[in-house]
């Protein structure tokens, strides 16, 4: 391939530099749509389906109170007689039909999934946000300041990276439980989860941002900004940060999938979201008890939802990584 001129391998260029007054500038949306990323999106059916599923699930979670038939955690709306209704079969006692069945308490599985999705997504997003802010900050500091700061941050990162994040999360969870008095444990569980997953996941961000910062730091425009007396903070935020956004976006997407799975795993292990605020993982944990007695739907539908969510976010992350890294294709 060495004989090929570079330009032949690039995608269509977005309409750059239409700064002249006479030229009518296309709308901002148009520009984004025409860009390489959008081009690649429109040509990847997998990415489009994944984005659609993700969006649908996020919307369902946000509007859960509107979309759900009942609030499964309002005891007054529950009827124990509805317990163990099979999907789509009218209940023998009450005659009510639940399309995804009910659990032992008579809760509509469809509604518990929607509320569970809310918890799962909330924990996932918050944990990634936490990891992102922490990781990007530490990565910038390590790369820009160097020296002693860098050594400490990157050493800690290296050691933590040796351990699987699920183990780190479990440890942090265990320690937090030890510190929090028993009566607050259930109340604080969600926040402890976010803390544990976030802390177990910042390293990726820090490493990538540090690497990019080291590269950018020595470029002439940064040196110039330094010479004219810009403060370190301003240089990091205005000049270096924008350059690391696309890898950070890729990591954040992949981290979201990992965080959702981590939350589900912790909750499944019984150390995550409590049964009073069940996430998808908690629902699966509950459902596992009924697997042998034949009430498969209590486990099956939450599991499918979790899988659809994790898979589509993962696929989005995969596509994003390929689309932003032209070297691979």
């Amino acid at each position: 391939m060495s004989d090929l001129p570079d330009a032949t391998r690039q995608g269509p260029k977005p309409t750059e530099r239409l700064e002249t007054a006479e030229v009518v500038r296309p709308s901002r949306w148009r520009a984004i749509w025409d860009a390489d990323l959008a081009w690649s999106f429109r040509h990847s059916p997998v990415a489009m389906v994944a984005a659609f599923v993700t969006l649908a699930l996020v919307l369902a979670a946000i509007f859960a109170p509107l979309v759900a038939t009942t609030n499964p955690f309002d005891p007054s709306s529950l009827n124990l007689m509805n317990g163990f209704s099979a999907p789509g079969v009218p209940n023998a006692f009450t005659g009510e039909t639940f399309w995804l069945g009910t659990d032992d308490q008579g809760r509509d599985v469809y509604s518990t999934i929607l509320y569970g999705l809310r918890i799962s997504l909330f924990v996932g997003f918050m944990a990634v946000l936490f990891a992102l802010v922490l990781g990007v900050t530490l990565g910038l500091l390590a790369g820009y300041l160097g020296g002693w700061t860098e050594t400490v941050i990157m050493r800690v990162a290296d050691v933590q990276l040796t351990f699987p994040s699920i183990l780190v999360a479990l440890l942090i969870f265990g320690i937090a439980r030890g510190i929090i008095p028993i009566e607050y444990r259930d109340q604080m569980a969600i926040w402890v989860l976010i803390l544990a997953i976030g802390l177990s996941d910042w390293v990726q961000f820090a490493r990538v941002v540090r690497g990019a910062t080291l590269v950018e730091k020595n470029k002439e425009y940064v040196q110039a900004a330094r010479l004219i007396g810009r403060s370190s903070g301003a240089i990091m935020l205005r000049h270096i940060l924008p350059n690391v956004l696309s890898p950070v976006l890729v990591i954040a997407t992949i981290s979201l999938a990992l965080a959702i799975i981590a939350e589900a795993t912790l909750s499944f292990l019984g150390v995550g979201a409590p049964p009073t605020q069940p996430s998808l993982g908690t629902l699966i944990r509950i459902g596992q008890d009924f697997l042998f007695s034949g009430e498969w739907w209590i486990l099956f539908f939450p599991a499918c939802t979790l899988l659809a969510l994790a898979l589509s976010v993962n696929l989005l992350g995969d596509w994003l990584r390929d689309a932003l890294n032209p070297r691979l294709k």
């Binding site: 050691v159 040796t162 351990f163 699987p164 699920i166 183990l167 479990l170 440890l171 969870f173 265990g174 320690i175 439980r177 030890g178 510190i179 999938a257 799975i261 589900a264 795993t265 499944f268 292990l269 019984g270 150390v271 699966i284 596992q288 697997l291 042998f292 498969w296 486990l299 599991a303 979790l306 899988l307 994790a310 898979l311 993962n314 696929l315 995969d318």
Partner: protein, 325 residues
């Protein structure tokens, strides 16, 4: 090369000291050890006497050194929950986890590398595409769901395989093994697949991408230009070079298997250290958590060292004292 290994050992020791510090801090500051040992009925004198005997009044570094000294001798204190020495509890449980991890690791390594090479060589074939798509689902599928799925299919529906516990075990000294009985082996199948599957997909995807990278290299091109057979190009030239980066990650993945055993052991009620740890987290049994953390760190550090040595063995460029100096 000796200098390289000594440096690595030195770094490992520092990592272990840091982990020990974390474990000790947990021990010392999370939950009050006095409260956990004495219970509700106690006098100020009792507390003071216990503080003195436990050495809690000594300066922090002294306490830390003593903690490490005991840990090195295998004394990790008494479990809050079971009121027995932690070392004893872990020794009882370790064989179950190690046997499970060994079988899963073997599975992940052989199948993972095999499929990785296959999908790299046949990168556009339909079989490779099917395997790659399946592996993406494998990566997205949480381990515990795989376990539940296997239980449902092979345990509940087909009733072929046991779904919990280790089956019958045979005692060989202090080691209890499930390898020697039929029920022990049968019980091992589902948990081993569950535990190995995730690492297997990871290893496979890694081997594939590294191999594709290697296949793009000039020396592969040159090997092809010399008319070498496909088998020789793929295995003799490409695979060996693929293994250099793969060894590192694979080593870490095998270490991770021990940690991921926590999940599998919970799903299958497998009586190993992972299940012990999860119970410890639930009941804030700090001595057990601390001991588990330290043991697993030692294991990781040893795997890392082994990986470094393997690395030097595979790649002649790292052998500074080459034969032809």
């Amino acid at each position: 090369m000796l200098a390289f290994i000594i440096r690595r050992v030195f770094q490992s020791v520092i990592v272990l000291l840091a982990v020990g510090l974390v474990a000790f801090s947990m021990f010392r500051f999370v939950g009050d050890p006095i409260e956990n040992l004495l219970g509700q009925e106690r006098t100020v004198q009792d507390v003071e006497r216990l503080r003195e005997t436990l050495g809690l009044n000594d300066p922090f570094p002294v306490q830390y050194a003593r903690f490490l000294g005991r840990a090195v001798q295998g004394d990790f204190g008494i479990s809050y929950r079971q009121s027995r020495p932690v070392a004893q509890i872990i020794a009882e449980r370790a064989p179950a986890t190690l046997e499970l991890a060994f079988v899963s690791g073997f599975l992940a390594l052989t199948v993972g590398i095999g499929l990785g090479v296959f999908t790299a060589i046949r990168r556009d074939g339909w079989a490779a595409n099917v395997i790659m798509s399946a592996s993406l689902i494998g990566v997205s599928l949480p381990t515990f769901l795989i376990g539940i799925l296997l239980i449902y299919v092979f345990g509940v529906q087909l009733r072929w395989l046991p779904t919990f516990g280790r089956g019958e075990v045979v005692q060989l000294g202090w080691w209890s093994t499930g390898f020697l009985t039929q029920s022990g082996l049968k019980s091992l199948i589902l948990p081993a697949i569950t535990l190995g599957l995730f690492q297997m997909t990871l290893i496979m995807r890694l081997v594939r991408s590294e191999m594709l990278e290697v296949l793009r290299q000039d020396y592969i091109r040159f090997a092809r230009a010399r008319g070498l057979a496909a088998k020789s190009v793929n295995f003799r030239h490409a695979l060996k070079n693929t293994m250099v980066p793969v060894i590192t990650v694979t080593g870490l993945q095998l270490g991770a298997i021990i940690a991921f055993a926590i999940i599998t052991e919970t799903v299958f009620q497998w009586p190993g250290v992972g299940l012990l740890f999860i119970n410890a987290v639930q009941f804030v049994d700090i001595p057990v958590m601390a001991a588990y953390l330290m043991l697993i760190s030692v294991m990781f550090v040893m795997i890392n060292l082994l990986v470094d040595i393997l690395y030097v063995w595979v790649d002649p460029r790292l052998r500074i004292d080459g034969r032809h100096a």
